[in-house]
């Protein structure tokens, strides 16, 4: 943080004037660790990738003349004799939100310097993420083996259902899997004390990625499963 001799930093200026000050002053424009800024830029680019996937799905679903399979029925499960529409997806949503909450707490405890709680919460986040991927594997298996959904067709209706489903949820599942590995590495490094000297920004950066994965799921849940 740069403070001028008068004791007032241009960073303190709020609003539009602050934007001008951030960009025009002879200093770095974004007052944050470079890793955090780069993570934000990466997430912006990832936003574009997922938006393009979902927009492609929208175009294909609007223009498909065969009826679109009803996701509520396709993703229903019968549990203890009860027919529950979309129940697996609801559970997956809750698991991911729970993991987002544990991650937010992990970031908080990291900045408080509570290493033990941080490691425990990051590990919990990674385990919840892993169980999400496990449920997704179950969902894919059920869809492919039982319902006969393929990227090029399915017994219910529009052929595009399979290709968009596998592409969008597959790419998201890949992000969750990568996130689980990322979190496991960060948890180990926190436990080892790698960040004792340099600070716990890394935990917040990993948290940004994990919340983004949850964020993308919010949109997939709304547009693919509920629409």
């Amino acid at each position: 943080m740069s403070t001028d001799p008068a004791g007032t930093s241009s960073f303190e200026e709020p609003g539009l004037g602050g934007v001008v000050a951030d960009w025009a002053s002879d200093k770095q424009a974004f007052d944050m660790p470079w890793g955090k800024l780069m993570m934000w830029i990466f997430l912006l680019s990832d936003t574009f990738i997922f938006s393009i996937f979902l927009t492609g799905y929208m175009t294909v679903r609007i223009s498909a003349t065969d009826p679109w399979p009803n996701p509520s029925e396709v993703f229903a499960l019968t549990i203890f004799g009860n027919h529950m529409p979309l129940i697996l997806i609801a559970i997956m949503t809750f698991v991911l939100i729970t993991s987002s909450g544990t991650m937010a707490l992990a970031v908080n405890y990291a900045y408080r310097g509570d290493k033990r709680k941080t490691v425990m919460l990051i590990t919990a986040t990674a385990l919840l993420g892993a169980s999400f991927v496990g449920m997704q594997a179950f969902e894919w298996t059920k869809l492919i083996v039982d319902e006969g959904v393929r990227p090029w067709g399915n017994p219910m209706g529009a052929a595009q259902f399979g290709s968009t489903f596998f592409m969008i949820t597959g790419f998201h599942g890949l992000h969750v899997s990568a996130g689980v590995i990322y979190l496991a590495i960060v948890a180990r490094k926190v436990a080892r004390g790698d960040y004792d000297q340099k600070g716990y920004d890394i935990v917040e950066i990993a948290g940004l990625y994990w919340h983004f994965v949850d964020l993308v799921w919010v949109f997939i849940f709304a547009f693919y499963y509920l629409w």
């Binding site: 943080m1 960073f11 539009l16 602050g18 934007v19 951030d22 960009w23 007052d31 944050m32 800024l37 934000w40 830029i41 912006l44 936003t47 938006s51 393009i52 927009t55 492609g56 929208m58 175009t59 294909v60 609007i62 223009s63 003349t65 065969d66 009826p67 399979p69 009803n70 509520s72 029925e73 529409p85 979309l86 609801a90 949503t93 939100i97 987002s100 937010a104 707490l105 970031v107 908080n108 900045y111 408080r112 039982d146 319902e147 006969g148 017994p155 219910m156 209706g157 529009a158 716990y200 920004d201 948290g207 919340h211 949850d214 964020l215 919010v218 949109f219 709304a222 509920l226 629409w227």
Partner: protein, 117 residues
């Protein structure tokens, strides 16, 4: 300056937002459970979706405590996506109409149920 010291906020706000996200997820699941249809369904889905997304970005990702410069970096490019969505919706409608017109498809066909097993 909150950034240099790291994002430090009371635990309570995270727990409240966490609870709120659970409630909102339950509500959006209930939209399907009660089988609301048409504009009611679509508007409820979008409202719950944007509320959830907003809380995750603002609180969990700490964006509400960040500088306006960063918010501009994130939200201005995203406007291009809105343009893309509008253009592709128009294009999709056009494609569908052309297919109905030339391929003689039934616009009122219903999907088949998933195979029983």
């Amino acid at each position: 300056m909150s950034d240099t010291a790291g994002q430090q906020h009371p635990l309570g706000i995270y727990l409240k937002i966490w609870l709120l996200l659970f409630v909102l997820s339950t509500l959006s699941y209930l939209v399907d459970y009660f089988q609301f249809q048409g504009y009611l369904r679509w508007s409820l889905i979008l409202i719950f979706m944007f509320l959830k997304a907003g809380f995750i970005i603002a609180i969990f990702m700490h964006l509400q405590w960040e500088r306006l410069s960063l918010k501009y970096v994130l939200f201005l490019p995203t406007l291009a996506i809105v343009v893309l969505i509008i253009l592709m919706a128009i294009e999709g409608d056009y494609t569908e109409l052309t297919r109905f017109f030339y391929f003689d498809r039934d616009p009122n066909a219903l999907p088949l149920p998933p195979p029983a097993h």
